[in-house]
């Protein structure tokens, strides 16, 4: 058996890369077998995995979905694709959560932040130097589109209040609290617990500095409501926020979002 662009084909001895590319992908100019680039005349062996690609071409929606299905198994991918996730705050936590969820093909992301990209953000946030001064909503939407253009991304550039959180996110499957300010974090959790029944919620507290990796944990507060962090490492002079540890917390959050989507509130 051969795998050509993630689809199964019967192996026949003597077959070459070009035999497939001529019929399956006539414009292909890049051939990869088992992870290494090869020429069009490369002989295939039974069990090989082969990619026929055209440089610079963006895969169509159905091709992208096939790639994700092949990686995640079809049942899982269907659920992720149908999911709606809200992300409040697009800093070190929120931008990394959004990138992780876009990469695995979560269907719809609702992103909210009121800030623009500043030079000091770039030590941990998923933006680029040439995006300084852009609203984070706009910059992140552009970056996500380069990762997976088939994820629906909606953005709001505004400062959230409890009332607005309840209004904006009443219909999402899971909501991630990724704010920087501890007062707003508390407002968000209070709102989730009192106004957003049925919405999964993943918040975070304590991830500054470069303390112990394993002090960062995911704790279940209530059914469907989780808190990530070490509970104490606050951002302050001498203990700044840095990509590695904020990334640990962000990916705890992202994985908990996925667990809630796939396994429900007891995940």
């Amino acid at each position: 058996m051969l795998k050509i662009n993630e689809l199964p084909f019967l192996f026949t001895p003597g077959v070459r890369v070009g035999d497939f590319s001529r019929t399956l992908k006539p414009g292909a100019d890049l051939f990869i077998v088992n992870g290494a680039p090869v020429g069009v005349d490369w002989p295939l062996a039974d069990g090989d995995s082969c990619w026929l690609l055209t440089r610079g071409e963006i895969p169509a929606a159905h091709e992208m979905e096939r790639l994700l299905n092949a990686r995640h198994s079809p049942g899982v991918q269907a659920r992720l694709k149908a999911a709606v996730v809200g992300i409040m705050g697009l800093g070190g936590l929120g931008s990394a959560v959004a990138v992780a969820l876009a990469r695995i093909g979560v269907g719809r992301l609702l992103l909210v932040d009121c800030d623009v990209v500043e030079p000091t953000n770039l030590n941990r946030q998923q933006y680029f130097l040439d995006q300084i001064g852009l609203p984070k909503t706009e910059a992140l939407q552009a970056n996500l589109a380069r990762i997976n253009p088939y994820v629906q991304v909606e953005t709001w550039q505004e400062r959230l209040t409890g009332e607005r959180i309840a209004q904006l996110f009443a219909g999402v499957d899971v909501l991630a609290e990724c704010f920087d300010d501890p007062v707003t974090k508390a407002v968000a959790l209070r709102t989730a617990l009192t106004c957003l029944q049925g919405v999964g919620f993943v918040c975070a507290s304590g991830m500054a500095g470069c303390g112990d990796n394993n002090a960062i944990v995911t704790r279940r507060l209530y059914p469907g409501v989780f808190l990530v962090g070490d509970d104490e490492s606050e951002a302050k002079p001498g203990q700044g926020l840095m990509a590695p540890r904020v990334g640990i917390a962000a990916h705890h959050q992202a994985n908990q979002v996925v667990r809630l989507l796939l396994y429900g509130k007891d995940a």
Binding site: G89, G91, G92, L93, G94, C178, F179, D180, D181, P182, V183, K185, A186, V187, L189, R190, L193, T194, C203, A204, S205, G206, M207, A208, L221, L227, G229, D231, E232, S233, E234, A235, K236, L241, V246
Partner: protein, 66 residues
């Protein structure tokens, strides 16, 4: 007077409000979510709810950074 705060018994003075206890713990009340006898409180309620003997309180506090 004894209450249970985050699973631990704690002595508080009579007529202590939720806000009063949070301040006693050295925390900023604005950064704390409080559940009092099984009910999550609105922020304003912290100011006027008085702790009774045996009250069960869960406090979740946030630190800055994200």
């Amino acid at each position: 007077m004894k209450i249970i705060c985050n699973g631990q018994e704690r002595e508080v003075a009579p007529a202590t409000t939720i806000t009063g206890l949070i301040r006693e713990l050295g925390l900023n009340p604005e950064t704390v979510v409080a559940e009092h006898n099984g009910r999550v409180l609105a922020r304003e309620e912290h100011e006027f709810i008085l702790l009774d003997e045996g009250a069960v309180l869960e406090l979740i506090r946030f630190v800055g950074g994200g």
